[in-house]
Amino acid sequence: MTAINDVTEVTGSQKRSRWGSRLDRREGRTAFFFLLPGLIGMVLFLVVPIIASVVLSFTNWKLLGTPQFVGISNYVRLFTADPQFWPVLRNTLFFTAEYLVLNIVISLGLAVWISSLKVGQRWFRVVFFLPTFTPGIAVAIVWMLIFAPGGFFDFVMRSMSIAMPNMLTDQTLAMQAVIIVSLWAGVGYNTVLFNAALDMVPQSYLEAARIDGANAWQRFWKIRLPLISPTLFFGTVMTAITSLQVFDQIYVMTRGGPGNATATLGYAIYQRGFQNFQMGYASTIAWVMFAMIMALTAVQFWLQRKWVHYDN
């Protein structure tokens, strides 16, 4: 069959198009079977859940009993009546803002520092990358032991005669503990990402600037930073998206406490959905989170025109 096809390709364009269309149909059928497993999975575990999530957010389903359509009252309740929602929203934004800034600053600093080394660059990269390849739960549990009352952290503070309350049980410090753990677990990826981008900056640019009398500080701000700014932007957007969803560390270390001090949107979805079984209401929170992710990403894309430098 394919042999005949080859002959027709030589003999005439008119025939080829007829053969071609039959071939296209056969190719279409092959493509269908190739795509089928993925499509079934995607429809069942992605498309249906997305639609179901929208529908659920307009119902008051509590897992048992029949769901009732309640219109937008979940959304109204969330923004006007739920006493926990605004603290949760504030915690999420607070976490995201502080974590995002510190993550980018620390990972960029480490990346620059690593790139200045003459030996052992790759081993330093591995060290900072290690936590990103390990379960966030295990990381959080280890840090919990460090921050536990009478644990290592308290011990160090007391031996330096710094009087401070326990990190995990203090209303304001608990969030800082969560951020420290998240940073330890999360800076490695961006460190390697930015380090790789710095490696791609052509040496000739830096050499030329040096000859023109630019010092290290100027070379960083005027050449290296603008050249890696697209990667910096990519890292910032991805980090923002993941930090708005923070859950693991909070589940292990504080369960949203003390009080509501570390309850974030991700934790609220889990709590409402799987502790109170308010499937409808939890879906509403999920869509608020999605809206926030979209909004923050849009803002970053808008801001990038001011600071991201594209080559072409």
Binding site: D24, P37, P135, A286, F290
Partner: protein, 282 residues
């Protein structure tokens, strides 16, 4: 300043620069150290104050006890089974779809590819509620298939494999087609062997993501023996009088594959992230 003293100065600065980062790296590694050294203490010593940096008695058999008694050994194999299964399914499905997107003509191909990419925008945590309801209605709560199937059909793999397949010269499969080989045959015996770097990368990141996954197995495995290691770790964390030493041993166990792979495959990981760094710009 003479040239000699200038080189001596720059050497001193270099040593200072390396030494400084070495100290930072050692401080950074402290939680790993703390985990392992607390895993081999008695529980009384873990809780003792003032804190000692090193254990007085090294109880190495804590690892064996955690493995058999808690049962972190069982959780370890559960994790291994879940992460491996998801990886195998993801690779097979991604290769099939990726090949269709890269090499086959069919109506609506570009639109479907865009739809695949669009689903990447949806954060995983948003879908846990409807996904749980689906798994529940299929009667798969507390089962391995309930944990595995919903996370095994991510669309990123199809896109990754498509990109890689496009870089393989068409001529390599044309000869096989003239000989009458089917598309599936071509994919399995020509394309897949040439795509091992991409398949390796997809496997590595899928395996690690699932090994480390917490929220989804937490919801599906409601307190059963089928729990994965991260979920199993939290079972023992809530009770009062926590056996911290055993939990640290379990945590160390859960970190083992990731640490091992990160060190062993550092070059592959660096190259794949460097690819992101390059694409982030252009």
């Amino acid at each position: 300043m003479t040239t000699k003293s200038r080189t001596r100065l720059s050497l001193a600065l270099d040593i200072l620069n390396h030494g400084g980062l070495l100290i930072v790296a050692l401080v950074f590694l402290f939680p790993f150290f703390w985990m392992v050294t607390n895993a081999v203490r008695s529980n009384a010593e873990v809780m003792a104050y003032p804190v000692r940096i090193l254990p007085q008695v090294f109880e190495w058999d804590n690892f064996a006890k955690a493995w058999t008694q808690l049962p972190f050994g069982r959780f370890f194999f559960n994790s291994m089974f879940v992460a491996s299964s998801v990886t195998v399914i993801t690779v097979i499905v991604s290769c099939l779809s990726g090949y269709a997107f890269a090499r086959l003509k069919f109506p609506g191909r570009d639109a479907l590819l865009m739809a695949y990419l669009g689903t990447l925008m949806v954060p995983a945590i948003m879908l846990i509620i409807p996904l749980f309801l689906i798994v529940n209605s299929l009667g798969m709560v507390n089962t391995f298939q309930g944990v595995i199937l919903p996370v095994a059909f991510g669309t990123f793999g199809a896109f990754l494999m498509r990109q890689f397949f496009l870089s393989i010269p068409m001529e390599l499969e044309e000869a096989a087609r003239i000989d009458g080989a089917s598309r599936l045959r071509i994919l399995v015996s020509i394309i897949v062997p040439l795509s091992m770097p991409a398949i390796g990368l997809l496997s590595l990141f899928t395996f690690i993501a699932q090994w480390n996954n917490f929220l989804w197995p937490l919801i599906v495995m409601t307190g059963s023996d089928n729990a994965t290691l991260p979920v199993g770790l939290t079972y023992f964390q809530t009770q009062q009088g926590t056996q911290w030493n055993f939990i640290m041993a379990g945590a160390a166990l859960s970190m083992l594959p990731g640490v091992f792979l990160a060190i062993l495959l550092q070059k592959l990981i660096y190259n794949s992230i460097a690819l992101n760094a390059g694409m982030g710009g252009r």
